[in-house]
C-alpha cells in the first residue's frame, strides 16, 4: 500500500505534528495532542484516534485505559501540512482525563477562567477499571 500521503505531512524536526480532535456531530474541539508517523498511520488503519504521548514517549491509543476510545470518522491536513485534524465519535462522551466532555472546559470570562463543563464521571473510576468499560 502506498503511504505517500504520510510523506506529504510536514513532520517537524522531532518527527511530530499537532492534532486537533473534534466531535463528529457537534464539531466541538475535544482535545489537542500530537502525532508521529506511526500514530497517524495506525489511526487510519485501525479507524480510531491514536496519538503520540510526549510525556510517556509512546503511542497512545486513546481510551486504552478509560475505555473512552475515539472512532475515527475523518482526517484533515492543513495548508502547510503541519497540523492534522481528527473528526471522531467519542465513545462515552468523555474526552478529557478530568471526566469532562472536552479538555477545553475553561472559558475566559471577566478576567478569569471559568469552568463551564460538569464532570460526567469521576476520573478515579475511569482509570481504576481498566479496559472493562468497553
Amino acid at each position: 500500500m502506498s503511504m505517500s500521503w504520510l510523506d506529504q505531512v510536514n513532520w517537524s524536526s522531532d518527527g511530530l505534528v499537532p492534532v486537533i480532535t473534534q466531535d463528529f456531530k457537534t464539531s466541538r474541539v475535544l482535545t489537542h495532542a500530537w502525532l508521529n508517523r506511526d500514530a497517524l498511520a495506525l489511526a487510519v488503519l485501525e479507524n480510531r484516534a491514536i496519538y503520540w504521548s510526549r510525556s510517556r514517549q509512546k503511542l497512545w491509543r486513546k481510551g486504552e485505559e478509560s475505555g473512552h476510545i475515539q472512532k475515527l470518522h475523518k482526517v484533515f491536513l492543513d495548508c502547510d501540512g503541519d497540523t492534522v485534524c481528527y473528526v471522531v465519535e467519542q465513545v462515552g462522551g468523555i474526552a478529557c482525563h478530568t471526566g469532562r466532555e472536552s479538555c477545553f472546559y475553561r472559558q475566559l470570562s471577566d478576567g478569569q477562567w471559568q469552568t463551564i463543563d460538569p464532570v460526567l464521571k469521576n476520573p478515579d473510576e475511569m482509570y481504576a477499571k481498566k479496559h472493562d468499560t468497553q
Copy 2:
C-alpha cells in the same frame, strides 16, 4: 487590571502555546497557530484574534494584510493549560492564506489528501490590496 489569568497558562519554555481557532457559528476549525503572552493579552484587549508568528518572529494581527480579521467571541483553555481555543467571527469568510474558508481543506480519502474546499478569493488579490477590504 489583574492579569493572573495569563499566569495560569502553561507557557512552554519558548514562551508559546498552540491555539486552535474555530468559527463561532459552524464550529469549523479554521486555523492552528501559536500564541505568546502578549498576543493573548492583546487579543482579549482588542477583541480580535492575534497570534505570534513563529516564522516572522512577531505579533500577527490576523487580517492586517488581507482585511480578513477575526472578531474574538470566546477564549478557552484546556485541562493542562497549555492549549488555547479562540472562537471567532471570520470577516470575509476566508481564514486561509490560500483563499479558502479553512486551512483544513484537505481530507484523507482513499489514501490521498483530497481538496474539499474551493478557493473563494485569489490570494494575489487578497494580499495586494492591503487594508482596503475593511
